[in-house]
Point group: C2
DNA sequence: GTGAAAGCGCTAACAA
DNA sequence: TTGTTAGCGCTTTCAC
């Protein structure tokens, strides 16, 4: 179905190597031969077989991407950034979804560490973070396949990383509500308290509260099985709250909608700000004041780090770098 | 870095083919040899090189997936379904994002039609649908790479398809508001009127309105650059509306939030129902009554169709099938 | 300027 | 039971 060098060679009555060289504009080959070869190749829509190339050159120009959850808007956006940057550099991506499961994460690595890819970009799954397992990562790296981790990372693994300034972002956001807006009771809502990033965000909140407020941290944790609307409603009714920082992308808009539903005025009675995309931030009136993570940049940076390492095969495995992508605050109507 | 048969053979003082056969449990090989080989392979963590296998067997067990927009929650969910079903069958997926662009869609096909994949699953990009281009699809199929289209499909291309009962779903939904709830002024809101599915949905709405209402169709079209909150607000203020059908996944919740914002009671004054995921439906109070598309099933079905065709190499290219995945209605608080 | 041959890692038909 | 060989499609060194 696909034309091969062999077929072109036969039809042109030249050798395979001549065709190969001609197509690669080799100095060795005569001008008219080059022309003849190229014309026929064009006619038959010849494309060098990627698999044969990979085998020959011992590299696939393919990146394995392991994502815990593609329905997570942030992760999807990072994936988008990865795909775009990879394409830009002539790389393809093979995607595995770990479903937040350690087992599936291992399988994904295992499955692709057979010559299918040149390296990995991944975000550590929830279960992996909870169990703090890192052996499979180290093994993969030892096999010669570099890994770049983003967002949720395993600190015990020596590899390139791209992370967000989670702690600082929430510390600053909380202080903004406390100091600039003069809020007295700022709460923290999170459905990701078991993730490394969730913990960092909560710590940033705690620090600000301890420093600049006279109440204790006030934290609502929501689990996957909870109805978050109900939980948040009860939380609001049982606590007098005038400010909310949300750690995940759904809780912010749900908090606003819930507040309005029970008759509060946002942002007059209650300020809300939190991590989200602009897409999600649009799902409430007023729109959510948003901590933006620049997901696409995170993806692009991960690709850059990986490709750099792939090209520097002699670079030491111990010389790793961590890039921190700064968040920015998008002021919308849900804060003063 | 990766152990090869050659290295194992050398270390064991047997031939390469003996090792290969032993690892594949060939009858020809002696039991103890098999055991020795397997032990060493285990020790060295031998994995057959995927690229070499692909070259040899002339198939990659890889599916090319071309998606217009991975930030679209529906498409992301289909991708999730594709990935899961593909993994189940021992297939990997290589993903390209077309960004709703004809050019990028072509490039994606082009890029992977070089032996990288055994076939394609794709959703036609917006630009492609607007310009009604199909040559690149036909060319790919002619090259021997089967295509399965889902959701937005090109009717002029002979290939397997997985679609949704868009027309019927909206026809029924509209009738539900008109006949069961007795609504008098049911509007249709869409930000996807240029897509095949958007058109079908609008036609379903129109039919129901013409049959069972005494007003003309009342349609609000929103473009990507519009602020949908403002547009919907103006629409509500300029028309007396007591029912809304939304064609895309964002407009429904935004319509509810907007209605509440201008003092309407949902669902008493206004019923809203529309296409969305349960994730998005949660972003309003009351929650959006939802037309669910079973995105994961769509993905899974696409994979099944493709694999079936790949295994039936002798099957006629002209014998294609179309699977229709029925939507279901999830009743939530935004309707009576 | 062109071609023959080796080799990437693997399988399988055939030989021994 | 084990080994030899050819070949998948390509690049590249070395001969001619």
């Amino acid at each position: 179905m696909m034309v091969t060098l062999k077929q072109l060679a036969k039809e042109l009555n030249v050798s395979i190597s001549t065709v190969s060289k001609a197509l690669n504009n080799s100095e060795e080959i005569g001008e008219d031969t080059i022309k003849r070869v190229k014309e026929l190749a064009e006619l038959y829509n010849y494309k060098p077989n990627k698999v044969a190339l990979s085998l020959k050159q011992n590299k696939t120009k393919t990146i394995g991407v392991i994502i815990p959850d593609i329905l997570n808007h942030f992760l999807a956006k990072v994936l988008f950034g990865i795909e775009r940057e990879a394409t830009l550099h002539g790389y393809n991506i093979i995607t595995c979804i770990s479903n937040e499961s350690l087992e599936q994460e291992k399988e994904g690595l295992q499955l692709l560490a057979n010559g299918s890819v040149d390296g990995f970009i991944l975000c550590v799954s929830q279960e992996t973070q909870v169990k703090n397992e890192v052996a499979h990562f180290k093994k993969t790296i030892a096999e010669g396949l570099p890994i770049v981790m983003f967002d949720r990372v395993a600190h015990d693994v020596l590899c390139d990383k791209v992370i967000v300034d989670d702690f600082d972002a929430v510390y600053n956001a909380t202080n903004m509500l406390l100091l600039l807006e003069g809020r007295k009771n700022v709460a923290f809502i999170s459905s990701i308290d078991d993730l490394s990033v969730g913990k960092l965000r909560e710590r940033g909140y705690n620090k600000a509260i301890l420093e600049n407020s006279d109440h204790l941290p006030l934290v609502l944790r929501i689990s996957k099985i909870d109805d978050s609307q109900l939980k948040i409603k009860a939380f609001f009714e049982n606590n007098k709250i005038d400010g909310v920082i949300s750690a995940d992308s759904a809780s912010g808009v749900i908090a606003i909608n819930t507040a309005i539903n029970i008759g509060l005025n946002v942002p007059k009675d209650l300020s809300v700000m939190g991590f989200a995309s602009n897409y999600i931030a649009n799902h409430s009136i007023p729109k959510l004041t948003t901590i933006r993570q620049h997901a696409k940049d995170i993806g692009a940076n991960a690709v850059q780090l990986l490709i750099k390492r792939l090209q520097n095969k002699n670079a030491s495995e111990n010389d790793v770098s961590t890039r921190i992508i700064k968040t920015s605050l998008i002021k919308n109507g849900s804060t003063l």
